[in-house]
Amino acid sequence: MSRALGLECYRYTIFAALWLSPLLAQGELRSLDDSALATIRGQSGLSMELELTASADRIAYFDDGNGIYLEDFRIGAASNPNQQARHLINIDIADDASLNLDYIVEDRRIEFGDIRLAGAPGVSMGGLFFDHNLAGSLRIRSGGATGSGYYFDSAYSMTDGRLGYRTNGNEVFLDDIAMTVEAPGVTLDLIDGALAIYAPSLIGSYSIGAVRFSGNPANHGASRDIASGELLSSYGGFAGDFDLSSNTAIRAGGRSGEGLRIDNQTVINSANFIYRDDAQQLALRDISGYWNVVDLRMDVAADWQGRNALALTLGRLNGELKIGRIEMGANGQSLGAVNLSFLLEDAVYSGESYSNVVYLQGGGHPDAGPQGLRLATEWSLQRADISYTENGHRVIFSGLQSWGRGDITVNVTRDSELNGTRFYDGLRIGFDGVRAGYRLNGLRVGSEDALLQGGTELLLALGFYPAYEFEMDGQLTLGAGGASGEGITINSDVSIRNGRAALLAAPYDDGDGPAEQKGLWISDLNYESHMRDATVDVTQNGLEVVQGEAWSTMDVGNLRVGNKDSGASFGRFVLEQYETGSSMVISPGGAGDVCAGGAGADAASCEASGGRWETRGDEGLTIGLKQILARAESGGRRNALTWETNRELDSSGQLVSNSGTRMVLNDIHTSDGGDYDGDGTDDNTFGIQTDIAVDVYQTRVVKKSDGADAQGVVGARGDEKIMDPSVAAGYRYVAVPGPEELASRPLGFAVNARARFRELSVNNVDLVHPVGGAQTAVYGVSMQNFDIKANLTATPMP
């Protein structure tokens, strides 16, 4: 090895040692008595005890002359900023010439008060702090993958950890972190000018007692409020374990000029993740997968608006994530398994190029204070497949693409009005001029290479459009604390403009390349949505969302059939919603045993009634909805539906809203049917209660006419479709299927639903003429005592 290369390797070795071991120890040398020495491994070599404080006003990094500054850097005690952190280190050289470090770190805090970028005066990114106790060992020996590098064996445990982010006196932090990590046999080499780090086994577990929020500027890195002594409110806690292997290459050189390039391949051999909310938990178990990061660059550079930023630009990221079980509720029942494969890479959507970049800047929302994060973001999800498997039945939502560009801001805010903007307690995520979209290509059933089918519109039941393009501004603030105890509180305001969402959509690529996606579209959409004090909790029943107050206006400029921009229009539709106290519970387990098309509590009585007894298994998904439609209030919030046609055109040929003829269903509301509590108004607590159990299950599909079908498969009217991989189309038609053939019926979604309401009313139905004004056509509609049950199967069609 040449002297120059040897020196370079040495520098990288020191760097890697710092990376592998969370040691950042510099400080004074103190004596260690024998009894203390006996508590750590190794009885020979050099021992050091350090009581450490270190600080720096500013640490700067320059990339092609552009600077980023880490300000108010400090290492010291976590419990008292004026005291020192204790370090105990034993250094030993073993017989095989390996360097052994055993260390204990107590009560240490590493902190940056602020992060600034040159050329961005008056704004900054906010501060970070990291508290911990550590006990571990690090062994370094020569060798590595090439024989001229190094081996590292590292193991450590961390307790009493905290990791926090602070802006403008408010902070969110992970509290009570405990973690163990073992990384034996890590190699470090210099290969083709890259620092190559290979970790064949990275095994560990972690626990985060709570994620806490503080809106009191006097608090900093403490679990309890300094004024009240009470524990700070919590979003809940996390726990998990992992078994990974990883290969990383780090090179010099950014996307332009100086900078850093990182390539990484990581395999998740196994992992588990648990979210805890008070005594309940939501668990993702049996996780496995991999990801490959190619050509990730870090620069200090300007974004597309010329704003200085820390730029992270990505060449490609692909991978797969498998979650074997999603458990929730008191009995730990599973929703089923989810598998996600993805590819993030540059691509062109609707004639416009998108890549994957994030430009980190200071500031956040301009009214929230000088500290915060602004992420000028662009993304291109070229392809993702999401599969859902329950009780062995698998459905794949195939060919998800997503793209977008805009600013996302992050602030930790407290309940107040600043400079005319309302803020709420919690982590505020803002959307500033985000133009984005996504589209699904179709469904596949069974495997990734199965026939592409329609049916993505089935996602409408879960609130997802099969395709959606929009421009968005707004905010989502995630507060700490749920309906009771731990959990999440949501306040949000979202404004969408120029939206185009599909209610029905054909594939955008059926194998011959991208094509116009025909469908039924809500086009020229403007949507305003507001939510106050909604809570999210994990309960004994599952995941429970309770809305405080929510109101929205969905103004669909044109409901089009065919092309989303030029298809013929049914006119304009405006849906106004105003709900108070509505809720949703997502529970594991679907319909279970069902008598489809008949009545009966068991197979015999069901079939005797002409029904079909179906055992849909213990997995699946049940959604319980309760919608309280409030009466119209004086501020204009109401539930109403307007349909407008015959609109006039303006000078630029655009249709003018409210210039045509309208039909208005005004003040749609629910009621319990009387004033039972004597407060002078009708009670409204029951609402519309809907329970929907969804399973992926075999469905009966019959041919509707004689002859060949759309795929050229011949059958007679009334024949049943049976899946058969041995034939070219993947299915055939059978007049009278036998038991084996019945077991090969096509998969679809089986929905068992029940909707009930005591009273649903429409105050009046008006016809509005642009000149003559409003005329009431119906002076009231009242629907009472409804209990509707439905057993439906929805099967995608090719």
Binding site: A568, K704, N785
Partner: protein, 183 residues
């Protein structure tokens, strides 16, 4: 297209609902014809729906479970066409119906229909009707009432017609819905 069915009744109903804007036509398209149509995909729906099988959620002096013979266990739909006037009512709505093979998709038409398709050259929303809809104990009453709510003071009601439906209704073909006129 070998067969063409025209459901005048339903088309007329839609024509009344949406004069000059929405048009609907029922046609039967065989499976082979569908193979040549662009804009594929969609869903195939089957199932059964029941209304107030055992009663509804209201328990008061008027409504109750179906085991309480003195009370009504069906659903009620009332509307008022004159301010401060009486209410037209569909009362005691109950029953079950089942269907198999209702399809839903967007379809492009640029040929067929005796040459009209080429002229039309547009997209439609296609509802493929189920062959058979089975009605089981579907019943309701048409009535006139003084109040929307039977529990309100001064409630009086006159039943006009009672209807009950049993058996199968055969519905073949497709319902094509498309916009026309000025949006």
């Amino acid at each position: 297209m070998k067969k063409k069915y025209i459901a005048i009744g339903m088309g007329a109903l839609l024509a009344i609902i949406a004069p000059g804007l929405v048009q609907a036509e029922m046609t039967a398209v065989d499976d082979a014809t569908l193979a040549g149509i662009s804009g594929q995909g969609g869903i195939y729906l089957s199932g059964d729906i029941s209304i107030n099988e055992l009663g509804g959620p209201v328990e008061d002096s008027y409504f109750g479970s179906c085991e309480e013979l003195a009370k009504k266990c069906g659903a009620r739909f009332a509307y008022q066409l004159k301010e401060n006037g009486g209410w037209m009512v569909l009362d005691e709505i109950r029953g079950n119906f089942a269907f198999e093979g209702l399809t839903l998709r967007v379809r492009s038409i640029n040929s067929g229909f005796g040459g009209d398709g080429e002229v039309f050259d547009g997209d439609v929303l296609e509802l493929g009707l189920p062959d058979v809809i089975r009605f089981h104990d579907v019943r309701f009453k048409i009535a006139g009432s003084s109040m929307a709510r039977p529990s309100d003071p001064g409630f009086r009601q006159t039943d006009i017609i009672s209807a009950e439906m049993q058996g199968n209704v055969i519905m073949e073909g497709n319902l094509l819905v498309f916009p026309a006129g000025t949006p």
